[in-house]
């Protein structure tokens, strides 16, 4: 039944059964070692249902959606549009509020460029002196598009600072978000610190001054229940590949797309065209020029269905308990310093740290030799690592398929690294 919310019966949270859904865990790594994948903040692994959905699209239904008068075109259209329904249900939004992009980075750039091209009189139009607010803990993808938009329009970029324990400093909220603020672009959960930001006060203040709120949910939507109505934000983006889906698909949700000018022009985003003029199709089509990434959208639909079956609260609870276990264990490692909150309160399953003077790249290399995959570096949040006063960090990030064995393996590898690099 089109448009209806499907009743989901959650399956019990059985970590062994979940791991069995992910074929990559069958392979061995670095000379026969068990794969300990702690880099889901960068990209998640994929369950069989996603791999099958994407390849079955190509195998059985491939045609250009929204065009063509044949059966395959109908099936391709139904494929992407049913994925759109699944995404809408996953976020608590409506189908016509979902735009498929190629990535969340593209979604954020779409917003920055569309806002930047809004003509005078359009509610999104920016004048010199208007303000765009971000925070010091943004991923480059939610910083640079706004920084550059400010440069192009003469708007001013301002930002929330980060406290030494890795929380957003809201003490000066009324002087950061002012009567001139037009856009507040903020991460829901830091990809470095794991901090989950308190949105209520920020959204209330933004709306009080007539600004729109753009939420980067890349690190939150895959890991916790999201309800866009409850969050009360105006735009939300997340990426498919961090949510068990394929690469090459991102999501932009918004309930205020009607007045926003298009970003990319071309086929299927139009209503009428002459040699000198064009008018636009209603959203979301206005923002989906060209033949869409159908197979990837279908794969993402399968991923979000899979997550809904397990239950996002269950996913979140599992990751919170793993995070608590990891933080306890890490605090027993000599010379280890957690970069970010050590309290489990308002915190997701991403933990960054440094270990004495072992450079993160060397540390990452050693733990990799033990089969443990972590991320090292500045995590595309260079200003933040500078503020936290570290050149780089090592980051462990979880997903539903991780268990306490993974954490034990990481901690053992960290101790091994200390021994290895200490011997010289």
């Amino acid at each position: 039944m089109a448009g209806a919310t499907t009743m989901t019966i959650e399956r019990p949270f059985d970590i062994t059964a979940i791991r069995a859904d992910f074929p990559i865990f069958d392979r061995k790594i670095r000379d026969g070692k068990r794969l300990v994948y702690l880099d889901s903040g960068a990209t998640s692994q994929k369950p069989n249902v996603v791999i099958d959905a994407e390849s079955n699209f190509y195998r059985l239904h491939n045609a250009a959606a929204h065009r063509g008068a044949h059966q395959l075109a109908e099936e391709a259209t139904e494929g992407i549009e049913s994925a759109r329904r699944i995404v809408a249900d996953f976020l608590g939004g409506k189908e016509d509020e979902i735009v498929f992009t190629k990535s969340s980075t593209e979604a954020l750039n779409l917003l920055a460029y569309s806002i930047g091209s809004a003509p005078a009189g359009n509610k999104f139009h920016l004048n010199p002196g208007d303000e765009i607010v971000v925070s010091e803990m943004e991923h480059h993808a939610n910083l640079i598009p706004w920084q550059q938009l400010a440069g192009r329009t003469g708007a001013q970029l301002s930002w929330f600072e980060v406290t030494p324990d890795g929380r957003l400093d809201l003490s000066n909220i009324n002087s950061v978000i002012t009567e001139n603020t037009k856009v507040v672009a903020l991460t829901h959960q830091s990809n470095v610190l794991g901090t989950i930001n308190p949105l209520k006060a920020i959204v209330a203040r933004a709306h009080e001054v007539g600004a729109v709120v753009v939420l980067d949910a890349c690190q939150s939507a895959p890991h916790m229940p999201i309800d866009v109505k409850e969050l009360d934000v105006d735009f939300l983006v997340f990426s498919g590949h961090k949510a068990l889906g394929p690469t090459g698909v991102g999501v932009l949700w918004s309930s205020v797309l009607d007045d926003l000018p298009p970003f990319l022009y071309g086929g299927s985003m139009i209503e009428t065209v002459t040699m000198t003029t064009a008018t636009w199709a209603p959203a979301p089509r206005k923002f989906e020029a060209g033949v869409p990434n159908m197979a990837q959208a279908v794969g993402l639909g399968a991923a979000l269905d899979y997550l809904a079956n397990i239950g996002m609260s269950n996913v979140h609870d599992h990751e919170v308990s793993l995070t608590q276990y990891l933080i306890e264990k890490l605090q027993q490692v000599p010379e280890l310093k957690i970069v970010g909150p050590t309290s489990i309160d308002a915190r997701g399953g991403t933990v960054s740290f440094t270990v004495g003077d072992i450079h993160p790249h060397d540390l990452g290399q050693y733990v990799d030799s033990q089969g443990v995959a972590v991320r090292t570096g500045h995590h595309c949040a260079w200003p933040l690592t500078k503020i936290m006063n570290v050149p780089a960090t090592t980051r462990a990030s979880f997903y539903l398929y991780n268990d306490e064995n993974d954490i034990d393996a990481l901690v053992e590898a960290l101790l091994g690294a200390q021994k290895y690099f200490g011997k010289f």
Binding site: H359, H361, F421
Partner: protein, 147 residues
């Protein structure tokens, strides 16, 4: 362990006791290079006297591979002419591109043959090359000025 081919003792030794670190105030060219994927940074000062590299000094932060590599580079290239240095730089670049198939010529590369194992780890080749690319850049700049 495979890792031992990466972390040769000479590399860790240079990392713990870096040579030529600390920027000299007199230089013919100064460059600043970063490894954009991990944030490693090196500032390198190149000093030329009578067509010979009279000093290489540097400062920076980064992993053992990037820091040891520039330290060894300083040892190797100081006192050489540009054409002698070019031979070493080319030999080192070739070694790094060898994907673990070459051992490096110790006649040319001396201690830098210790980096042969790095070429087996694609993620670390950029670390090893950071200082060398900085040197190349500085050499071009200083030669441009002298012409």
């Amino acid at each position: 362990m495979e890792l031992d081919s990466l972390y040769q003792e000479v590399i860790l030794d240079h990392y713990k006791h870096p040579q030529h670190k600390g920027l000299l105030s007199e230089y013919s060219a100064q460059v600043h290079h970063v490894n954009t994927s991990c944030g490693d940074e090196i500032t390198l000062n190149l000093t030329i006297a009578d067509g010979v590299i009279s000093a290489i000094s540097w400062d920076g932060q980064g992993c053992s591979i990037s820091q040891a590599s520039v330290s060894i580079l300083g040892d190797l290239l100081t006192g050489k002419t540009f054409s002698q240095a070019e031979e070493v730089v080319n030999a080192f670049s070739e070694l790094m591109a060898s994907k673990g198939t070459a051992a490096g010529d110790p006649e040319i590369l001396e201690d830098a043959v210790a980096f042969a194992g790095v070429s087996k780890f694609p993620g670390r080749v950029k670390c090893a090359l950071l200082g060398w690319m900085a040197f190349k850049d500085a050499a071009i700049q200083s030669q441009g000025e002298s012409k």
